[in-house]
């Protein structure tokens, strides 16, 4: 069947989202196991948004303009503003949500975490970006943020050695390094006052991307973690595949190529000269030969990333490996409706298998 049109599924609150989302959830679930909501109990009247089902750990959603609380003991955090009472009104200041999302609290600080948001850059983040515009001494890079990021000519590795000074020739040849549409991986070096990011690629880990496929997911789908560059050993003779998880929700999946393979014209390249030798090839847009088996596995890994994000599960090395394994198993099983795209039920089955959990009821399954 080439097409499947399903009726809409009614919304369920997923438990998985709760424990897999991020660090604040960890403290909260810890608190829920013990004496839940200690600091909120007692005689303090709270609006519905803050009342939580203690067992399920479920939160309700507030919408922009909704009063989160009128209790003066709370401080306002991100995603809220203080509405000052007008004359004649009985209640004092109220905390009102400015985004649609879930209410979170840290001690007495109330904030609303948006359900969907663009990426907010932070110094040190690893991002994947696409060149939008070339200017005389810098590039403007789309990083899925509210503003385009800047990449200065002085913050890239120039060919011919890392210690070379930038010259006017480089300025004239700026398009030979990056031109419009090119994808690159970079690190956020600093932030401008308006929140726009300045990037740098001054490391062999960063630079132009090739030999692979670009996947865009929601910026909230990729959480900051220890490592954002993973290597998966794929099945079916696909070899090793590199996955670069940009914190901004841009993901690059490529055949593993290593600059430090160290062979050039049959000679070993010494580790000290590595920077120079490699830099000639750094700005090439030409792909290497990629075997069909590798391409197939790259597509599968991309589908796994999308499936994880769709089901609100944290994307990290362990989860990605587990879901990938489940996806390979799924495709091995002889089914009439073999669907490798993982867009529909197949994706849910794989994520459930990897988690050992039923996504809709929140019940644990036997692995």
């Amino acid at each position: 069947m080439p097409i499947s049109i399903l009726p809409p599924r009614r919304a369920h609150t997923s438990k998985v989202a709760e424990f897999s989302r991020s660090s604040y959830d960890d403290d909260r679930s810890a608190a829920e196991e013990g004496e839940a909501d200690v600091d909120m109990e007692g005689d303090i009247p709270m609006s519905g948004a803050l009342q939580r089902n203690k067992r399920g750990g479920r939160t309700s959603i507030v919408t922009p303009g909704e009063v989160v609380t009128d209790d003066p003991q709370w401080m306002r955090g991100h995603g809220t503003y203080l509405a000052v009472a007008e004359e004649g009104e009985e209640v004092g200041t109220r905390i009102v949500a400015t985004v649609a999302g879930t209410v979170t609290k840290v001690n007495k600080l109330l904030s609303v975490k948006p359900l969907r948001a663009r990426y907010t850059p932070d110094i040190g983040d690893l991002v994947v970006g696409r060149i939008m515009e070339v200017q005389s001494k810098r590039w403007k890079v789309d990083i899925n943020s509210t503003q385009t990021a800047h990449l200065l000519l002085s913050s890239i590795n120039l060919p011919g050695g890392i210690l070379r000074k930038r010259t006017s020739t480089d300025e004239l040849q700026i398009r030979t390094f990056f031109s419009e549409g090119d994808l690159l991986v970079a690190e956020v070096q600093s932030l401008f006052q308006d929140g726009a990011a300045s990037l740098h690629t001054r490391s062999l880990k960063y630079g132009k991307l090739r030999n692979g496929y670009f996947v865009k997911v929601d910026a909230k789908g990729i959480q900051r973690s220890k490592s954002h560059v993973l290597t998966l050993a794929t099945a079916n003779g696909g070899g090793e595949v590199d996955v670069i998880l940009g914190v901004n929700g841009y993901v690059w999946i490529a055949k593993k190529t290593s600059l430090s393979d160290g062979k050039k014209d049959g000679k070993e390249v010494s580790i000290t000269r590595l920077e120079e030798e490699a830099s000639e090839a750094i700005y090439s847009s030409v792909n290497e030969f990629i075997a069909p088996a590798t391409r197939r596995e790259i597509a599968r890994v991309g589908n796994c990333v999308r499936a994880l994000v769709r089901h609100d599960v944290r994307v990290d090395e362990e989860m990605l490996n587990a879901v990938y394994e489940a996806a390979v198993e799924e495709s091995m099983e002889e089914r009439g409706d073999a669907d490798e795209s993982l867009d529909g039920d197949g994706g849910r089955r794989c994520v459930e298998k990897a988690l050992g959990l039923d996504l809709f009821s929140g019940e644990f399954k036997d692995k």
């Binding site: 069947m1 080439p2 097409i3 499947s4 049109i5 399903l6 009726p7 809409p8 599924r9 696409r130 060149i131 939008m132 419009e180 549409g181 090119d182 994808l183 132009k208 991307l209 090739r210 030999n211 692979g212 496929y213 670009f214 847009s285 030409v286 792909n287 290497e288 030969f289 990629i290 069909p292 391409r295 197939r296 597509a299 599968r300 991309g302 589908n303 999308r306 769709r310 669907d339 490798e340 795209s341 993982l342 867009d343 529909g344």
Partner: protein, 302 residues
């Protein structure tokens, strides 16, 4: 010419990777679908209370479309058939785009065009009496910015909305001014079960003569040699659908060929062969039949 908002920036390395993957035998699509496989859709009909007919359709990753149809009685001017073009008005609003953005107008035309071809039989259904007819306002709201060309999504949801459209029953004689039954339960569907169904439009892209892909994503469109929007009309007897219109769309690169030696993309010479077009049309007939069956499933489930 598609407005520029439909084209994407894409790097040469990605272009070459996509192109060579799609040109393989068997081809590898970037999301591992089979060539004729569509992305899963979620659809429901009759969702808006104050319309004559409505539908909503969602793509797995993003794209969402809501269609509402209102009918209004209008006196018929005694003129030629060509004036019937004004009997249906399609308005597309793309969220986040300005009102005067060409994208909405362009998409509206794409949808309206197939509805107004004489073979689609839509305008015959709108005749009330010799002096009066229904005027249909089809309002389409595209909620998320399109991840790929939204023509298929719009046309499928418009199809569902039209099939859920009901119009009041006429109780006056055909030579009087029309008077309708107040009872909504007595209204009659615009498309009865036994009639010919509203047309659908499918996008098809061909790569390197040998491979043909249905429901292409934006990236796939940008590396295709030839992109065709094929409008199909079907009868409820589930016979093979009829082709009622073929329109070429601009492919992102205007046809490129991957140089096998170094993987650099370069312009191809020639154009699209006639046998490719023939194959595309032949395949879209069999795929179109299954699409109509799936749409029928949505209507039946309601």
């Amino acid at each position: 010419m598609a407005p520029s908002t439909l084209t994407t920036l894409i790097s040469p390395a990605e272009l070459s990777y996509l192109r060579s993957s799609l040109a393989l035998v068997p081809p590898i699509r970037p999301d591992a679908r089979t060539p004729t496989q569509f992305r899963p859709l979620v659809a429901e009909i009759d969702i808006l209370p104050s319309t004559n007919g409505s539908a909503r359709m969602v793509w797995g990753d993003g794209g969402e479309c809501v269609v509402g149809i209102k009918a209004e009685v209008e006196p018929t001017e005694p003129t030629s058939y060509g004036k019937r073009r004004n009997w249906v008005e399609v308005g597309v609003e793309v969220q986040g785009q300005r009102d005067d953005d060409p994208l909405g107008v362009f998409l509206g035309m794409t949808v309206g065009e197939s509805l107004l071809t004489p073979t689609s039989t839509l305008t015959e259904r709108l005749v009330i009496t010799p002096k009066f007819h229904w005027k249909l306002y089809i309002d389409i709201l595209l909620i998320t910015p399109p991840l790929s060309h939204p023509a298929t999504l719009l046309s499928l949801s418009t199809n569902l909305a039209l099939r859920s459209t009901r119009i009041p029953r006429l109780i006056s004689e055909s030579d009087e001014d029309p008077i309708f039954d107040d009872d909504w339960d007595a209204s009659i569907p615009l498309y009865s079960i036994t009639s010919q169904l509203p047309p659908i439009t499918l996008l098809v892209v061909s790569v390197e003569e040998r491979n043909i892909f249905f429901d292409p994503t934006r990236e796939e469109l940008s590396v295709g040699d030839c992109v065709l929007a094929i409008s199909l009309a079907s009868s409820p007897a589930h016979d093979a659908p009829k082709v009622i219109g073929v329109r070429t769309l601009e492919s992102g690169t205007g046809g490129i060929a991957a140089d096998a030696k170094d993987g650099v993309v370069a312009a191809s010479i020639g154009g699209v062969k006639r046998r490719v077009i023939k194959r595309i049309i032949k395949e879209s007939l069999s795929v179109g039949k299954e699409v109509f069956e799936s749409l029928q499933g949505v209507v039946d489930a309601n």
